[in-house]
């Protein structure tokens, strides 16, 4: 079974430039997550999708960040314009929501390491 795929793996941009990250979840997983992980910290949830619907985007900085999950499969996270403080690893994860009150195992992709100069 293929894991979560993310691209690119690394990205270096100058501040004020736009950047986009792509994620392909594990086949059949209906829930998709975007996390940001700063150096020395745990992942922080940015947005969670159930199929095509964003069910939790409370921690997404909406002035510059946007995300979409068309057709309920692949997802794209965009930052425009990027700031120095956006340098971090952006992780995508997916899970299969069984539909009852149990937290599902999340499978993480390798992440995209973003450096903003």
């Amino acid at each position: 079974e293929a894991g979560v795929v993310q691209s690119p793996r690394y990205k270096i941009i100058e501040k004020k430039q736009p950047v986009a990250f792509w994620c392909n979840p594990i086949s059949g997983h209906n829930t998709l997550y975007w996390y940001r992980q700063n150096l020395g910290q745990g992942p922080e949830l940015l947005i969670r999708y159930e199929n095509e619907e964003a069910v939790d985007d409370s921690q997404l900085p909406k002035d510059r960040f946007s995300a979409e999950r068309l057709k309920g499969v692949d997802s794209t996270l965009k930052i425009q314009p990027a700031e120095l403080g956006d340098s971090a690893v952006y992780l995508c994860a997916s899970s299969f929501n069984k539909g009852f009150a149990s937290t599902d195992t999340q499978y993480f992709g390798p992440g995209t390491r973003l450096t903003v100069l």
Partner: protein, 113 residues
């Protein structure tokens, strides 16, 4: 908002020594998960604890969930160099936050051969 604290932040051990990391939540949890992240890697799921007082074992790893469901621990017996990495707890407060994991800051384990 929910806060999850992990201690210690770093732990250096000699191979063969034991290791424990602790996780404490400011709120009662629905469940807690543990993840391991190797240097340069991504978090990998280890286990989920759901019941009050639950204890689960995976070979040399022992996971506990507190009676009040507000704290948890991970204990590794006789560490090996392959145990090197950062161990994260991830808490689910349940209710309207069901499915949302709040990660601790992690404990970085180094093992000297």
């Amino acid at each position: 908002g929910q806060q999850v604290m992990q201690i210690p932040q770093y732990q250096h051990v000699q191979e063969g020594e034991d290791f424990t990391t602790y996780c404490n939540s400011s709120t009662t949890l629905s469940n807690i998960q543990w993840y391991k992240q190797r240097p340069g890697g991504h978090p990998v799921f280890l286990i989920q604890l759901v019941k009050s007082g639950e204890v689960k074992k995976q070979k040399r790893l022992t996971f506990q969930f507190g009676e009040a469901k507000k704290n948890s621990s991970l204990h590794i017996t006789a560490t090996q160099t392959t145990d090197v990495g950062t161990y994260f707890c991830a808490a689910d407060a349940g209710g309207t936050s069901y499915g949302k994991l709040t990660f601790g800051q992690g404990t970085i384990l180094t093992v000297h051969p």
